[in-house]
């Protein structure tokens, strides 16, 4: 008997004729609320991300003096400052500029899904500065809204603020292994 059969046999013996209970879903489902961009900003800032509201992506990026910049292959070229130092190797890069897939207002979370304008996962992991561009139509209210939009077959990275730890006396401290600086550029409605 294989371990697979063994374990499945054990489970069936353990369950006997256990009835399958119904799942109760009385919580707020997807599409119960409208996305609130002010809330998103509040939550991003609360977790130490820096937020820029601007349609001039290249201008904001240039103002951050990003240094050696790595880019995903399908990024909008107009977002890249004319004099940027672009490198191919994320191991050498000091900063990365990407688009995003979804932003969750209630939790201040940005999700990347590896699309051509976001690139493979390691490019947003190794550089110390991640600059991430969010379009207004990508902002959703809640986690259920985000789940409804995402494709689980893609590699997903949910990012809520810069790398942090709560391992020392349970206080949140920013800056361990991931990017220590997260800048978010919100398009549409500069203010």
């Amino acid at each position: 008997m294989s371990s697979r059969e063994l374990i499945l046999g054990r489970i069936k013996a353990a369950l006997g004729d256990t009835a399958v209970p119904e799942v109760t879903r009385d919580y707020r489902p997807a599409a119960s609320e409208k996305a609130d961009v002010e809330l998103l900003i509040d939550r991003l800032v609360d977790y130490k991300a820096v937020v820029h509201r601007s349609d001039d992506v290249a201008g904001v990026v240039a103002s951050l003096n990003p240094g050696r910049l790595v880019l995903p292959p399908g990024l909008d070229p107009s977002w890249v400052p004319a004099d940027a130092t672009v490198v191919d190797d994320e191991y050498q890069a000091e900063a990365v500029l990407t688009a995003s897939t979804v932003a969750v207002a209630e939790t201040g979370t940005i999700v990347l899904d590896g699309s051509p304008d976001q690139g493979r996962r390691r490019i947003t992991l190794l550089p110390d500065l991640h600059i991430c561009v969010v379009r207004p139509d990508q902002i959703v209210a809640s986690v259920p809204d985000a789940i409804a939009r995402l494709d689980p077959r893609r590699p997903l990275t949910w990012i809520s603020g810069p790398s942090a730890t709560s391992d020392i006396e349970l206080n949140r401290v920013e800056g361990v292994h991931g990017p220590r600086n997260l800048h978010v550029i919100l398009l549409g409605g500069a203010s």
Partner: protein
């Protein structure tokens, strides 16, 4: 008599589910450690405050708990079908699924997989399951080095210590102690290192960076696996999880068979429950989700090891099986008056606190962790805090009735329970204890608690004062 196919407890002689001494004996020592008590008190107070604040932001917290609870019950009842589905979907996405009946088999599978890569070092991201089975020890015995990459795990590993909390294994260490450990054990550390948490984190970043970039094999746990899609999820904070899950060529994930959720949509419940209940954040900094292998992105070899190791024995107990609903948030530890006073080591197993008191005895068989069901006052705080509404007090009572306990043990913890319900009694007892230092014995019914052992010095703060502050 056992025969193939019978639910079976976790084997002896491997892994970390059984302590060297009983809970009362271990707790007795811990209760005398003032520093430990201060560290724990500080940390659990912080986390309770943070967690309470972000839970308060959600108008539907109770509805989410109910959904989490019913989802887990539904999953357990359909486990064979859902595991089949998970296996098919992981396989279709390019992963390889392995089944491990117990700790020995899981250790063997992982060791063989690592050996087959030709490498002798793995990086690890926090996984309770691999601690449970003693994987690091097994790998070491085969000449493979396992590097823990979680800051807290690193502190524990460098300090030659044992984890004492599910989420923050080094919760028993304060910043000054962590600095000491780093200065002593971390090669190349800056001798001017201070005990500022940000500096300590920076030291870990520098220390591990090269290891992340050069190690070709990673071992991880998983918080959730989605049967419908074959997707795995790891929630973390530091980015070490992302490093382990994306940089190496080979990824081996070890996961208990109970970590399943039926559908992709179900994650919308658990992604709201877990961060708020565990670290007290609206969302943890990083969550990685992957389905099999993605060409050109991340590890190109993915293995999923599904672990039983006593879980089917837990499932066989109609009352106790709820313990398998646990999502390892550690909220029950953070609110437990007994945990706060004894710390995690006293529980002997990798699973400490209230969840440990119901899970460990069921995984090993109650005879091997006979005192744990008594390591509680039955005050019910754990039940209220649990994001998936596990009725821990009822399971404790149920297990107490099953334990072939020595009578004294029952008397001892019976007294703890009674006292917690009657603070005046404890105050009186402590008062009596203070008066009669020479005798070093508590009056009945508390004399069972010390069970003819020496009475520890009465704590500077009485139970009642401490309770009143909560």
């Amino acid at each position: 008599m056992t025969f193939l196919g019978m639910p079976t407890t976790a084997p002896r002689g491997v892994g970390n589910l059984r302590g060297d001494e009983s809970f009362p004996a271990a707790a007795h020592k811990a209760l005398q450690d003032e520093q430990l008590r201060r560290n724990l008190g500080h940390a659990t107070t912080t986390i309770r405050r943070k967690s309470g604040a972000v839970i308060g932001e959600l108008p539907d917290w109770q509805e989410l708990r109910e959904a989490g609870s019913t989802l887990k019950a539904n999953t357990m009842a359909r486990l064979p079908e859902l595991l089949d589905q998970l296996e098919a979907n992981v396989t279709a996405a390019g992963g390889v699924v392995h089944w491990a009946a117990d700790a020995n088999e899981a250790n063997q599978i992982v060791t063989d997989l690592v050996k087959a890569t030709g490498h002798d070092r793995v990086i690890k991201v926090k996984s309770m399951a691999t601690q449970e089975i003693g994987l690091n020890e097994a790998l070491e015995a085969s000449g493979i080095t396992a590097v823990e990459t979680d800051l807290a795990e690193l502190i524990v590993q460098l300090g030659n210590d044992k984890p004492s909390h599910i989420l923050v294994p080094a919760i028993h260490r304060n910043r000054a102690e962590i600095r000491e450990i780093f200065l002593r054990e971390m090669p190349g550390v800056d001798p001017a290192l201070t005990d500022e948490p940000a500096e300590l984190a920076g030291a870990a970043r520098r220390y591990l960076r090269e290891t992340f970039l050069s190690t070709k094999v990673a071992v991880s746990g998983a918080n959730f696996a989605v049967a419908e899609t074959g997707t795995l999820a790891v929630l973390e904070s530091e980015g070490n999880g992302r490093m382990c899950l994306t940089l190496p060529e080979t990824l081996i994930t070890v996961m208990g068979i109970e970590k399943l959720v039926p559908t992709w949509r179900d994650l919308e419940v658990f992604l709201q429950l877990l961060p708020r209940a565990s670290t007290g954040e609206r969302m943890n900094p990083y969550t990685s989700m992957w389905t099999g292998v993605t060409p050109g992105d991340g590890p190109q070899n993915f293995h999923l090891v599904l672990l039983d190791n006593g879980r089917t024995a837990v499932l066989a107990d109609e009352v106790g099986r709820q313990a398998l609903h646990c999502i390892r948030c550690s909220a029950c530890l953070n609110v437990c008056p007994v945990y706060e006073r004894t710390g995690g080591h006293a529980y002997g197993s990798v699973y400490p606190g209230p969840i440990g008191a119901i899970l460990s005895p069921q995984l090993t068989g109650v005879e091997d962790n006979a005192s744990l069901p008594y390591a509680s006052s039955l005050c019910g705080a754990c039940f209220d805090a649990c994001p998936v509404k596990i009725d821990i007090p009822s399971i404790l009572v149920h297990l107490r009735n099953e334990v072939p306990h020595p009578r004294a043990e029952k008397a001892a913890f019976g007294a703890v329970a009674y006292t917690m319900d009657h603070p005046a009694l404890y105050t009186r007892a402590q008062h009596a204890a203070k008066l009669s230092r020479h005798a070093k014995k508590l009056p009945p019914p508390l004399n069972g608690w010390t069970a003819s052992r020496d009475l520890p010095e009465p704590p500077s703060e009485t139970f009642r004062d401490w309770w009143a502050k909560r």
